[in-house]
């Protein structure tokens, strides 16, 4: 899953070091436009539905946070 996620992220922001950035939202690395692209791509790629309530910094600050969110949503199905 991590590889697939990295591919999505690389496509959206090829300039960001996602392995090491742990404050993607809080430090303003990603902007709102990135988030819209990211949510759409994650929903498609992982067959999930990210709801507005899941849009909190913790879920998107790092790849770990995003993986946890994806896993949680996949389990709910």
């Amino acid at each position: 899953m991590k590889e697939q996620l990295m591919e999505v992220l690389e496509e959206i922001r090829p300039d960001v070091d996602f392995e090491n950035e742990k404050q993607l939202i809080t430090d303003g690395v990603l902007d709102s436009f990135d988030i819209v692209s990211l949510v759409t791509a994650l929903n498609d790629q992982f067959d999930i539905e990210i709801e507005v309530g899941s849009l909190v910094p913790d879920n998107f600050n790092s790849i770990e946070g995003m993986m946890a969110l994806i896993e949680k949503l996949q389990d709910e199905d």
Partner: protein
């Protein structure tokens, strides 16, 4: 009409002294505090530079930034805000145009400020706030001030690759804010929610409306605009009643299904501007907030942020096109054809603007100023400058104007104005890019760059992040063996358009 924003501030501080003028998540300042601090900073500055000097500002997204601006105005000078999160190359470009003697930075902006190789003096805002108020000095500056003195210079994308600084006078600002307040019906009971970066043109409303009305303004944290549930929570906590936001905020909120769980309960007055509002997004907002007034605003920085407004009547249909409406008070807006003749009702022409709201031009760029601000070709009787916006419009029978797109390669992207040729100039600064063409895919709000050369997509993306503000960085980078050309040698943009599908 009071023509000094400082006298207005003092009047408002007399009336609403203990009331909050500006607040952010951590601090708040009353009107009396704003006046006092601004006077301190102005007193300090007036010892250092003559009136009407530019002062570069690098301060953060917090309550003190508007006070720094007002302090500069107390010194009879004008401010040029610079976003310290922008790449240093761009900040250096701005300084090279502005050539200020003084750059004011707060502790947040200081590190970046020192990296710019700036030859003038860099001062810490906190030090200036500690200066005593010098009434004589401030009175002298007030007496020598004129209504058409520059108030601020805001930098915007320039087609030659260098940003250009639009100079706005105090008089223009006074005209715009009073017209806007009248249209929106804002008074001292309102609480404004600021979205615009404070260095950006749209922030002038959030900064000056409190001074005009006694309303309070709250600076909403930037990350809220990525997280709609958080945004609405903050707005409800702060009881935000009125906003003037970029269209992209509204569309992003809808894309992220913002209304699924909550809504901004207190929001009653909404103005949106910056680009064309898709009616599908507006409809979602109207249905969530049926008792809220929605106003579409149109206009460039060169005309003090605006020209026309249109109050939306009833809930829109998805296929509707919103008019840009009628001119604000003190704005003269009309259409000219390619031969500088007036365009009849119902036909398309270039939107032209005149009136006391016209910018004073582009700072330190007489050539571009003379080219852009010209004598009204319809007026042979007296001197009257107009600004040709480069936008096309059509005037309806009922005096309402419709927007019909752009004349050149300037685009509106996420609320910002972007010259596609500036992106190409930036591309050419990377040796491993040989040729390039920037394109805009409006439906998806994506900037594409087609380029030739050996640079990898990653290298190119990193390069752009290093010299352009984030919103200008192309989201789709396509490396080609060669750009498609037309027989006349020009780039075949239609072929590139097909590649974007």
């Amino acid at each position: 009409m009071e023509i000094s924003v400082l006298r207005l501030l003092e009047k408002t501080a007399d009336k609403f002294g203990g009331k909050t003028a500006y607040a952010d998540s951590e601090n708040s300042l009353t009107f009396a505090e704003v006046e006092e601090k601004a006077k301190r900073l102005g007193s300090a500055l007036s010892e250092m530079i003559p009136p009407r000097s530019p002062v570069a500002i690098m301060t953060g997204r917090n309550v003190l930034t508007p006070v720094v601006f007002l302090g500069v105005v107390y010194a009879g000078c004008f401010y040029a805000p610079m976003d310290c999160t922008q790449p240093t190359a761009r900040l250096k470009d701005i300084l090279s145009v502005l050539q200020p003697k003084i750059l004011l930075a707060d502790s947040e902006g200081m590190k970046t400020a020192k990296e710019l190789g700036f030859e003038g003096e860099i001062l810490l805002t906190d030090d200036l706030f500690a200066h005593d108020i010098d009434r004589c000095a401030l009175d002298a500056r007030a007496r020598s001030a004129c209504a058409d003195d520059p108030l601020y210079t805001i930098f915007t994308s320039g087609s030659t690759g260098k940003p250009k600084g639009v100079i706005t006078s105090m008089m223009s600002l006074m005209c715009y804010i009073s017209a806007y307040i009248e249209v929106m019906g804002i008074d001292e009971n309102d609480r404004l929610g600021n979205q615009s970066p404070l260095d950006y043109i749209a922030a002038v409303r959030d900064i000056y409306i409190p001074i005009f009305t006694g309303a309070s303004m709250f600076i909403i944290p930037k990350q809220c605009f990525m997280m709609p549930a958080e945004l609405f929570r903050v707005m409800n906590e702060q009881k935000i009643t009125a906003v003037g936001w970029s269209v992209s905020v509204f569309t992003i909120a809808v894309k992220l299904k913002a209304f699924a769980e909550s809504k901004p309960e207190y929001l009653k007055k909404v103005c949106f501007s910056g680009s064309v509002m898709p009616c599908s997004a507006l409809k979602a907002w109207q249905e969530a907030l049926p008792d809220t007034k929605f106003v579409n605003q149109y206009g460039p920085t060169e005309c003090t942020a605006s020209c026309t407004y249109h109050e939306v009547e009833g809930i829109v249909d998805e296929g509707d096109t919103l008019p840009i409406g009628k001119p604000y008070r003190n704005y003269r807006v009309f259409l000219l054809d390619d031969n500088d003749k007036e365009v009849p009702v119902g036909e398309q022409g270039e939107i032209c603007v005149a009136g006391p709201i016209l910018a004073l031009g582009y700072y330190n760029n007489k050539e571009l100023t003379d080219k852009s601000f010209i004598q009204n070709p319809l007026n042979k009787a007296f001197g009257e400058l107009i600004y040709k916006t480069g936008d096309y419009g059509v005037l309806r029978e009922d005096g309402v104007m419709l927007f019909k797109g752009r004349k050149d390669r300037q685009i509106k992207h996420l609320g910002h104005r972007v010259e596609l040729s500036e992106i190409e100039s930036a591309a050419m600064r990377l040796d491993s890019i040989k040729d390039s063409c920037a394109m805009y895919q409006k439906e998806k709000e994506l900037i594409w760059l087609f380029y030739t050369g050996t640079a990898s997509v990653k290298e190119a993306a990193v390069h752009f992040r290093g010299i352009l503000p984030g919103f200008m960085v192309p989201r789709k980078l396509i490396q080609l063996e060669e750009l498609p050309h037309l027989p006349n040698g020009k780039v075949n943009m239609q072929a590139l358009k097909d590649m974007m599908k």
